[in-house]
């Protein structure tokens, strides 16, 4: 999947290996709240895909920590870890974690279904990014609420390739 436009090559970036680690809305943890300005126009398909999962429910920011490199080594395989703050008891647990992106051909990345037996609401995987873009993680809790976090990721093209097309 190589649809990296040449415009990404000269892209202005903030610190090559800094991680986009976001914690929002958790009082007393002392974690820095990093403000991310939303992208100029969040593509419709990602919003629609999110609505398909969430329905009409409001999506709150917080509880979700999205760990992804700010500048990836290769868009073909990007490490992703998501952890949701939750006691993971029978009465209060994370039902699912959904990940979306805005510039790949399809908006969905993965949907993980957990439950109280998970013990910890934390998953890791590797995914593909076609271009520099924003990704969004949404956690669905047992009480029916939805919480989200997002991260901006920069993707560049490798210098030494197999093919030139």
């Amino acid at each position: 999947m190589k649809i990296v436009e040449s415009s990404t090559m000269g892209h202005d970036r903030k610190g090559a290996t800094r991680r986009a680690l976001l914690y929002g809305g958790l009082a007393g943890l002392g974690a820095a709240l990093i403000k991310i300005e939303p992208a100029a126009a969040t593509p419709e398909t990602m919003q629609r895909a999110i609505r398909q999962v969430v329905g009409e429910a409001p999506i709150r920011r917080g509880k979700v920590a999205l760990d992804v490199p700010a500048l990836v080594e290769n868009g073909n395989s990007v490490a992703l870890t998501i952890e949701v703050a939750s006691p993971m008891t029978e009465r209060d647990y994370v039902k699912a974690i959904h990940v979306f992106n805005e510039k790949n051909p399809l908006p969905n990345v993965i949907s993980a279904h957990l439950g109280p037996r998970a013990g910890r609401a934390k998953i890791s995987t590797r995914f593909r990014l076609a271009d520099t873009q924003t990704i969004v993680a949404i956690a669905e809790l047992s009480d029916g609420t939805f919480w989200s976090a997002s991260a901006d990721v920069i993707v560049t093209l490798q210098a030494c390739l197999e093919n030139l097309d």
């Binding site: 999947m1 073909n76 395989s77 990007v78 992106n101 790949n104 051909p105 399809l106 969905n108 990345v109 993965i110 949907s111 993980a112 279904h113 957990l114 439950g115 037996r117 998970a118 013990g119 910890r120 609401a121 934390k122 998953i123 890791s124 995987t125 590797r126 995914f127 593909r128 990014l129 093919n163």
Partner: protein, 106 residues
């Protein structure tokens, strides 16, 4: 042919939260690439991954073409009792793989 790499701790204390790592051999062809004469290469991905603990589902993931080749998924589960932690991958073109690991819980 080695199909999967599975990492499950062989022993755990009752109630301990353990981390499980899985990696399955699969090309995860997105369906959006074209071959060198421009013909689209059909989609061929794993669509679902399930983990059961002594037969009961404890984790399930729906995968999309954005998941990188040789899908790597790590997740947690509570070590409740000794037994078998089993894994199942299903996908396009009738893809079906299974794996399992034994765990001793004291």
């Amino acid at each position: 042919m080695a199909r999967a790499l599975i990492n499950v701790p062989p022993k755990a204390k009752r109630g301990e939260v353990i981390e499980i790592k899985t990696l399955i051999s699969h090309i995860m062809e997105t369906g959006f690439r074209r071959d060198n004469v421009g013909k689209p290469i059909p989609r061929n991905i794993i669509t679902q991954f399930t983990c059961t603990y002594n037969g009961e589902e404890v984790f399930r993931a729906d995968l999309y073409p954005a998941i990188a080749a040789n899908p790597f998924i790590t997740f947690s589960t509570v070590a409740t009792e000794s037994g078998t932690i089993a894994f199942e991958w299903t996908g396009d073109n009738g893809f079906h793989e299974t794996g399992a690991a034994k765990i001793t819980v004291e």
